[in-house]
């Protein structure tokens, strides 16, 4: 017997993500799904962002890590509500994991929630965690061929932070090429060259975040 099915394999996943999105929307929380390969600077950029914005906005972080709580400890130092998720081998965070973290978050006291995904340029692109935006970080030592090699990640992201530009003088990496290739994959991608080390370029990212938060809450809180 042949049974026609036509079912989307990740349907259950997407339903959970949609429920989460609705919950975050009701609470007026801007949710950022932060993705990159390991070592591109997700935690460092989060640290800078928290330093810059923690007096203006109520921030919280869900830290996804395969094994340790090292990143969560780094973030918790800033006095920010931080929840650790260990994926124990899984290469990405999914909606279920975020749902499990909810009891540890007081959603009435959060303006922006960052979900720091597991370091990986492939899998996290496929899964929604209730976010408003996917934001990806590419660091220049990774090379300027990455948009062509990992198109889905660039395609799904709304913002690209090109990190470690302080290293450009020592590398054969063409910033213009990254920009051009990334826009070929995703013409809507907003692109900020930054250095988490020197702080260069991060103002634009902070402004984008504040604007995104305001836009989300335009009717809601004011």
């Amino acid at each position: 017997m042949k049974v026609p099915v036509i079912k989307r394999i990740l349907d259950a996943q997407e339903r959970i993500a949609a429920e989460l999105k609705q919950l975050f929307d009701e609470k007026g929380i801007l949710v950022i799904n932060l993705m990159s390969s390991p070592g591109a600077g997700k935690t460092s950029i989060l640290e800078k962002t928290i330093e810059a914005l923690k007096d203006k906005l109520r921030l919280a972080v869900i830290e996804g890590d395969v094994q340790t709580s090292l990143d969560a400890e780094r973030i918790a130092r800033y006095g920010i509500l931080t929840v650790q998720i260990n994926t124990y081998g899984a290469c990405h965070i999914d909606g279920n994991m975020v749902k499990e973290a909810l009891p540890d978050l007081n959603l009435d006291e959060i303006d922006i929630l960052f979900v720091e995904n597991v370091g990986n340029l492939v899998c996290p692109a496929e899964f929604k965690v209730g976010e408003d935006y996917k934001v990806m970080i590419l660091s220049v030592p990774e090379g300027d061929d990455k948009p062509a090699k990992y198109p889905l990640m660039f395609r799904e992201s709304s913002v690209l932070l090109i990190n470690k530009i302080d290293l450009l003088p020592f590398l054969e990496c063409d910033l213009e090429k990254i920009n051009k290739e990334a826009l070929k994959v995703n013409p809507h991608l907003k692109n900020f060259p930054v250095s988490a080390k020197t702080g260069e370029g991060l103002e634009g990212w902070y402004d984008w975040l504040i604007e995104a938060f305001k836009a989300k809450n335009h009717e809601k809180k004011n």
């Binding site: 017997m1 042949k2 049974v3 026609p4 099915v5 036509i6 079912k7 989307r8 394999i9 990740l10 349907d11 259950a12 996943q13 899984a90 290469c91 990405h92 999914d94 492939v122 899998c123 692109a125 496929e126 899964f127 062509a148 090699k149 198109p151 889905l152 395609r155 826009l183 070929k184 994959v185 995703n186 013409p187």
Partner: protein, 115 residues
């Protein structure tokens, strides 16, 4: 390895259908997988086999149809087919307009064969 999560999704759908149609065994599950999803068929097979090992679904095969990436220019309406696996540019090479994806993002269970 997002293949494992995808294999779990497939298994959940198959088990659902087994219950609905009171199937005793399932020989084949037909899948449509778009090339944009970056799923590696070998890895998906491996993950699925690991999940069904020592269960009644142990002999179930996955039949994976890979769907090429097709896109249409929003500006001039020309259609493009990306042949190479890693060449997914979404600007029209003729007019520079933005391409919208027609196919290539599928992750579907299409059909189940069983008794």
């Amino acid at each position: 390895m997002h293949e494992l999560a995808i294999a779990e999704g497939i298994l959940a759908i198959v088990q659902d259908q087994i219950e609905t149609y009171k199937l005793k065994h399932v020989s084949c599950v037909k899948l449509k997988i778009g090339l944009l999803t970056a799923v590696v068929p070998e890895a998906l097979n491996f993950c699925f086999d690991s999940l069904v090992k020592d269960t009644p679904l142990e002999k179930t095969n996955l039949k994976i149809e890979l769907v090429p990436v097709k896109a249409r220019c929003k500006n001039c309406g020309r259609e493009f087919r990306h042949k190479k696996r890693m060449d997914f540019f979404f600007l029209c090479p003729i007019c520079g307009g933005e391409l919208e994806i027609i196919t290539g993002k599928e992750l579907l269970v299409e059909e189940i064969e069983g008794e």
